[in-house]
Symmetry: C2
Subunit: 354 residues, 2 copies
């Protein structure tokens, strides 16, 4: 046992000076035990609230721990328990706006408790993803959440030594546990709202048709139109890009062909912003003449629009929270399978006031 004369000073008798950060050696349980004049085992019991410790002794130990600002080494503890209290979160779209709320929800669900999140950005690259996953497994994460960049199915990671939950982009393997936004329901919700606002000549300006989400939203909208006994103006949804530019152009085209239109459902808030601009420039009043809706409820775009934009919110934070919850359950031995769908909600603003 080292016999270093203590006293709170930086002490580097044993180790060489290439140690890096020159803080004092972090205090360990045996430091506490020594200061309290008890054995390590007793100190451990005292600090962990075990019953077989005299109150007086416990107090002594707690005081010593306090004095040394002792913080138990989680790594050592993990080694014992086999649980690191850590989950890996691999995102593919850290710069994008969809993964962030999901991440927040997950962070939220875990953060309160005793789980920490190890974040990695794989940037849509399968190689990088694999690399990160290996690193995370090496750190003995208790589970993984994989957040996709876009809501289309992605390859499964297969059998890993820890549970995996896919968020936003589902796994192709239905045995895996995935959580996604209910795009069909979102489209339906939008049309139902427009109908409830008394609109009946509705057109749809969607986004990039290569996105499953674009098609799903349209499908839901068509369902709802059908149920309301309405026909889509123009006969079919317009597909283009997720840009304001496309929104403007498509809107101008619509107005030219169908001047009697009274509502436009857009595939995203960006498209809707373009749509609003084009309408204003064509002298149409929103929502007086034409109601407009977006999708995503991207606050910065929706609230600053003129008029503020009614939109469909995907509840991504809730999605993240649920993903965290599912992962937690799986870690506890109760894995879920299949795709779970998170319902959208209406974010009501002035562009559709009825």
């Amino acid at each position: 046992m080292n016999e270093h004369a203590d006293g709170g000073r930086p002490n580097r008798s044993a180790k060489p000076a290439d140690e890096g950060f020159q803080g004092r050696r972090t205090t360990t349980l045996s430091d506490v035990a020594r200061l309290a004049g008890v054995s390590i085992a007793t100190a451990s019991k005292a600090l962990n609230g075990r019953a077989q410790v005299r109150a007086e002794t416990r107090a002594k130990v707690m005081a010593a721990a306090e004095q040394l600002s002792f913080s138990p080494n989680g790594l050592a503890r993990s080694l014992l328990t086999g649980r690191s209290g850590t989950v890996g979160l691999v995102t593919h779209d850290l710069e994008g706006r969809f993964s962030i709320p999901t991440l927040m929800g997950a962070e939220d669900a875990f953060g309160s408790g005793k789980v920490s999140v190890l974040l990695c950005d794989a940037r849509g690259d399968a190689i990088r993803e694999q690399h990160h996953i290996q690193a995370l497994l090496g750190r003995r994460v208790d589970g993984l959440i994989i957040v996709g960049a876009r809501p289309d199915p992605r390859p499964s990671l297969g059998n890993l030594p820890v549970p995996v939950v896919y968020a936003y982009a589902p796994s192709e393997n239905p045995q895996d546990c995935s959580l996604v936004s209910d795009n069909v329901g979102g489209g339906r919700l939008a049309v139902e709202h427009l109908v409830a606002c008394g609109r009946s000549r509705i057109a749809i300006i969607s986004g990039d048709s290569s996105y499953g989400a674009a098609n799903d939203r349209v499908a839901g909208a068509l369902d709802a139109l059908d149920e309301a006994g309405l026909l889509l103006v123009g006969g079919q949804a317009l597909f283009g890009a997720w840009t304001e530019e496309w929104g403007r152009g498509a809107t101008r085209g619509l107005l030219a062909k169908h001047p009697d239109i009274d509502a436009i459902l857009c595939g995203s808030d960006q498209i809707a912003r373009g749509c609003l601009d084009a309408l204003r420039e064509a002298g149409r009043d929103v929502p007086g003449d034409v109601a407009v809706m977006g999708h995503d409820n991207w606050e910065i775009l929706a609230s600053n629009a003129r008029p503020p934009l009614t939109s469909i919110d995907m509840n991504l934070e809730e999605l993240g929270r649920r993903a965290a919850a599912r992962l937690f359950e799986a870690i506890e031995g109760h894995p879920a399978h299949g795709v779970e769908t998170i319902p959208c909600r209406l974010a009501l603003r002035s562009s559709t006031a009825s």
Copy 2:
């Protein structure tokens, strides 16, 4: 030594069945050693490329490791080395857009190597921050990066057992290591660009004056105006809010009082969007009659503006990367002190074409 009859089957002789995730016990170095028919020590050396191992033996061990898909337990390793290979990243603005690029840069700088990032969102709450920091220290992170929500100085965390770097929002203590965006330089850069475009009747619509950033940007702009021998139109910068609405209103006011204005420097891209709208509606051509600049280079706003918006980019990813680098150096024993300033760069688009 345990004498359990092995065979790759889930083996839970010792531990009860409340274990949670029902994967097979993760394979350990001793499994590899046994399969390869060598001692644990030899297996370790073989896998870590130590020299004192016969090639044939090494191959045998590697094969065994491969077959068992062995992945060394990083926790055990950390316990030995005293380094967790982990840093904590505490952000205060996970939903906001400023912390994300910083986070990305840090993730980027670390992610390539062998450091992983533990992410926490403290949401501007000092209590929550303290809580997260304690948790991170318990996990024995090798260092901390604290990312602020807004660029004003924040209280120092004081003396922690690991190095700390403050990003975006500097610490109040000049002894700490902080990295911030050069807002003064950004303001200067903007005016220099406008002047280079031949503008001389320049006005400034800034944001919330309670933000140091707002004032710094204006200060830099005024410096540059002065050096160019120009006077600010209106005599002083206009402060308001970071919104499109404020941008529109302020622009209308400017046009009324100073119809001969030929450039407007905005404190943010949102303000600039409002400014552009107001100009268009007033029949002013951009950049023909009036040049407009924003700040932040928020892609989604700047590129979709009409015309696309020239803006000042804060290089936040670079800021994050640098923060990671500084932290790394500090961990290696070479801490930096004081506030390091990251220069802005010009993001040239059509709203100022000269």
